[in-house]
């Protein structure tokens, strides 16, 4: 149980409407008392201390705050925390397994798909949503799927390669399981 603690001036607490919500974050059920206007990105960052989700624009353009809600990519700066009540949220912190990295994480490092690292969590989450739906995307499909995420450093070419790399590795893993 996590609650968003806020110090208030005595006697003013009742003026702030709050609501209790329960969200499954990276597989863990967590509850919080939030103001209805709190955006999901802030619940994740300030409330749950999951600072891998970044905010870069406030207008749903940059995609640095992209997380998966019930498996679909969502810009968490433009979704209220209360809208996530009862839903499953996955952030960059949930990508890696206990002992190994997700192939996307490996791919981004291997193909130099990041520089300053600020857009990277959102890029990887948007990429995960793509690969979950389309395990072997073309370059155009990757570029289209990531067109809601801005990167100022890389010029995207290596990000595309990173997603390809991950798709290749995931494909190999699937083949192994089937064999």
């Amino acid at each position: 149980m996590t609650s968003l603690f806020r110090e208030v001036t005595p006697g003013t607490a009742e003026e702030i409407p709050v609501r209790e919500i329960t969200v499954t974050v990276n597989g863990q059920r967590r509850s919080a008392v939030v103001e209805p206007r709190l955006v999901l990105a802030h619940l994740l960052r300030q409330g749950f201390k999951l600072t891998g989700t970044h905010t870069g624009c406030d207008t749903s353009n940059c995609g640095a705050c992209t997380v998966l809600v019930d498996g679909r990519p969502v810009k968490s700066c433009t979704m209220f925390a209360v809208q996530a009540d009862g839903h499953e949220v996955m952030t960059v912190e949930g990508l890696a397994g206990p002992s190994e990295l997700h192939p996307l994480q490996e791919g981004f490092k291997e193909e130099h798909g990041l520089q300053c690292g600020f857009c990277t969590p959102g890029m990887m989450m948007a990429s995960k949503a793509l690969l979950d739906e389309n395990p072997s995307p073309t370059e155009d499909e990757i570029r289209w799927a990531l067109s809601g995420n801005l990167c100022r450093c890389t010029g995207y070419q290596n990000i595309v390669k990173a997603v390809m790399w991950a798709a290749g590795k995931l494909d190999g893993e699937t083949a192994e399981v089937q064999a």
Partner: protein, 792 residues
């Protein structure tokens, strides 16, 4: 014994995977906004909605009364502490919080510090400011007009809106070259205002501890040591009591060089409240108030001989600096290194006249992925060159080749007196032309014409000065532009390296270790690199203007050599021979006459702490401050092929070929990453990034819905090629690279579109070359100017 394999230990030339990625891919970066301190409060800024207005009154009583509000700062609060104004990096002053009037839309008027950012934002909205609107100026023509309203009425001896008139070059010589010309090619250009827009906005956490008198500031800064000095001067605090920590930075591109009002206000708030105060800028605040780039007008002339030789060049520039002259640039120069234009061409006569003016627009003049206005210099140069080739009726590649400085003509004095030292310009051009298939272009153009499409090819070739100083000529506010590295070799042969630079994505933690590996043979993975903490890092001028590798990187090599020199003495002691008989190969000293008898650098490290020669200082640590003898001069050739649809004005990039000669490449993977990033920003500036103003001074482009950055979908693919001409004076032969593509790239894109529309009589379309501008130009046969105000 064999030498250590340099590539295997992650030395020079290894495309070593990046160390910093390990935390970024896990979401474990440590950016300013990720830091939470006990008792931390949050600050928000109230900004002016008007571009020019007198402040009649500010009523913050409602804000003060809101639960959770701890402090409201206004210009009055700041003025009482002599902090209402602060010095800029160009010897001007800038308002921290407005006192008398606001001078641009988005100017900082008040700050609220509260328990959380939501409350602070609410409270900002509760502040009532009574403004008396004043006439607004959004371009130099208005600014210089007779009777124009005076923007800086706060300054003495400022009778009008002109900031400076500056002149460099030989006027008489240039005049006589023009008198002898067969043809004079003229062009008027505007390099529009642009904004670097790193995805992380600016921010700070100021933490003043009354008990220790220490001020710690976590800051999104590319230059922590300069900020420490600035804070010491502005806030009048003792410098040893100021600690600036620049943690992970989510991109900088020049945007994070200046000191911003938000930083200063958060520091004062922390001092007054004795609690940590965090300020995280929102995107609109970032776009409308922090360091913009460019916004310069050019009238350019080239004196030409019939055979294609350029005899002389005239440049007449007018820069729109906004409301405060806050360019981040070496203090000797008023318009940065604009006079580095035409450095790759052999031109005997040159003259530059530069004027700067105030307008009611945000201040800035930062070098957005650029070494002090060289982006404008190279863009103007290459647009002038293309226009001149067209005027002469000469092939644009051939025209460049005729005028290039020859490979055997180095060192070479550039038209305005810089000294270039190396390059193979013709070879780079050849590689590019070959790659793009220049020979077949005319045929392709004809075929495309049959389909109703206009094909164009654009070339941009340039050498640019990167890596300031030397300190004789380059300083910022008097502080010489050297840089530093400190290397500590631990007893076990592992190492800690710190520099005065600060990575914002360039990968210093990876490449600096590679330089140590190259110099000492210590595996790169054994070298920990730290930057950005002024309490631990040696003094340096920071990372911008592509100066990290040319200056700090050189310091890393030099400090490694100092370490090696001491290790050699230790080796002689261990081998019981005289130092003259000691030979070095990567990672190991050995006896000249008995190569199989030797000691590794790691063994020397152990001995430095356990078995040093008599009389030797123990330990194996050192520091180097590097003052480069000259700038480095990388060369680039960018070639773009576009297809224009005349029915819509839309243009698509068919090919983008980049040939970069940045000397020796430390980590080729990272170098290529830098080039592709720069090319993308070049494309962005040429194609879509549009931040302009209407007649009332409203910023058009104040969010990412209006100020368009290219996504993966629009960004073209890049084909990279390399030529290597080592820098003769750099210890490892490297030249700067971070900015080349953003500097040289824009002209290649614009030249390509202009080449495509060549038959229409259109000579210039200002950037961004938007489809509607192309369409209008094709319809009317007229040039398109991009100067504000725009019609809304």
């Amino acid at each position: 014994m064999t030498a250590v394999d340099e590539i295997k230990i992650g030395g020079m030339g290894a495309s070593r995977r990046r160390v910093e990625d390990n935390r970024f891919i896990r979401g474990k970066g440590n950016y300013v906004d990720d830091i939470v301190l006990p008792g931390m409060l949050h600050m928000e800024i109230l900004r002016s909605p008007l571009a020019h207005a007198r402040i009649r009154s500010i009523d913050a009583s409602k804000a003060w009364a809101m639960p959770g509000v701890r402090l409201v700062l206004t210009g009055e609060t700041m003025a009482a502490r002599n902090l209402a104004w602060m010095p800029t990096l160009s010897y001007d002053t800038q308002a921290v919080l407005a006192t008398d009037k606001v001078r641009f839309q988005g100017q900082e008027v008040a700050c609220v510090i509260a328990d959380d950012p939501y409350i602070a934002k609410d409270a900002c909205e509760a502040i009532v400011v009574d403004y008396e609107p004043l006439p607004v100026i959004v371009n130099p023509t208005q600014s210089m007009a007779d009777g124009a309203p005076l923007i800086r009425d706060d300054k003495e001896n400022q009778p009008n809106n002109v900031i400076y008139d500056w002149e460099v070059g030989d006027k008489e010589g240039t005049d006589s070259a023009f008198a002898q010309a067969d043809l004079v090619s003229k062009i008027d250009l505007h390099y529009p205002r642009s904004h670097p827009s790193p995805i992380e906005c600016c921010g700070s956490i100021a933490d003043f501890n009354r008990a220790t008198s220490k001020l710690t500031v976590y800051l999104t800064t590319q230059a922590p040591h300069i900020i420490r000095a600035a804070v010491a001067l502005v806030a009048e605090l003792p410098e040893q009591m100021i600690r600036i920590i620049s943690p992970d930075i989510g991109g900088g591109f020049g945007n994070k060089v200046p000191v911003y009002p938000g930083y200063v206000a958060s520091i004062l708030a922390s001092i007054l409240l004795e609690r940590p105060v965090k300020w995280i800028e929102d995107r609109t605040g970032n776009l409308i108030s922090t360091g913009f780039a460019r916004d310069i007008y050019l009238h350019g002339e080239l004196a030409l001989r019939k055979d294609g030789r350029i005899l002389g060049v005239r440049m007449n520039t007018t820069a729109d600096h906004g409301a405060f002259f806050s360019d981040a640039q070496p203090s000797k120069f008023k318009i940065g290194l604009m006079h580095s234009a035409f450095s790759c061409y052999d031109i005997p006569n040159a003259h530059l006249l530069a004027r700067g003016v105030y307008t009611n627009k945000a201040p800035g003049g930062v070098a957005y992925r650029c070494s002090f206005r060289v982006t404008e210099a190279m863009f103007f140069q290459e647009r002038m060159v293309q226009a001149a080739a067209d005027d002469l009726g000469m092939d644009q590649a051939e025209f460049r080749r005729i005028n290039f400085v020859r490979d055997d003509d180095f060192p070479h004095r550039t038209p305005w007196g810089f000294l270039t030292d190396s390059g193979q310009y013709g070879k780079c051009l050849d590689v590019g032309l070959e790659a793009v298939g220049y020979q077949d272009f005319l045929m392709e153009k004809e075929e495309a014409a049959k389909r109703g499409r206009l094909l164009g090819i654009g070339i941009s070739t340039m050498t640019e000065p990167l890596g300031a100083g030397n300190s004789r000529e380059y300083d910022i506010l008097g502080i010489k532009m050297f840089d530093s590295a400190e290397l500590k070799i631990h007893m076990t042969g592992k190492a800690l390296l710190r520099t005065g630079a600060k990575s914002q994505g360039q990968g210093h933690e990876t490449t600096w270790a590679q330089i140590v590996a190259h110099e000492l043979g210590i595996p790169a993975e054994d070298v920990l690199v730290e930057e950005g903490d002024t309490d631990t890092a040696p003094f340096g001028m920071g990372t911008y203007a592509s100066r990290s590798t040319p200056v700090a990187g050189a310091a890393v090599a030099m400090v490694s050599r100092k370490i090696r020199s001491k290790a050699r003495k230790i080796a002689a002691h261990l081998l019981e021979i005289s130092e003259e008989d000691v030979e070095w190969e990567l990672g190991r000293f050995y006896v000249r006459s008995q190569p199989d008898r030797g000691v590794t650098i790691q063994e020397c490290a152990v001995a430095a702490y356990s078995n040093m020669p008599d009389g030797m200082e123990p330990g194996l640590e050192n520091v180097a401050y590097y003052d480069p003898p000259n700038l480095t001069w990388p060369f680039a050739c960018y070639i773009v092929k576009v297809e224009v649809d005349p029915a819509t004005g839309v243009w698509d990039v068919l090919r983008m070929v980049a040939v970069d000669d940045c000397g020796v490449r430390i980590n080729p993977m990272i170098v290529e990453g830098q080039i592709m990033g720069g090319l993308t920003e070049a494309y962005a500036m040429a194609n879509m990034q549009f931040i302009t103003f209407d007649a009332e001074g409203n910023c058009i482009g104040s969010n990412f819905t209006d100020y368009l950055l290219p996504t993966a979908w629009e960004t073209p693919g890049f084909e990279l090629h390399e030529v290597v001409t080592p820098c003769p004076h750099h210890p490892i032969g490297a030249k700067g690279i971070g900015e080349c593509a953003a500097v040289g790239g824009p002209a290649a894109f614009v030249n390509a579109v202009m080449d495509a529309v060549k038959g229409s009589g259109v000579r210039n379309i200002d950037m961004p070359v938007l489809p509607d501008r192309v369409y209008e130009a094709l319809q009317t046969g007229q040039d398109i100017s991009g100067a504000p105000p725009v019609k809304m």
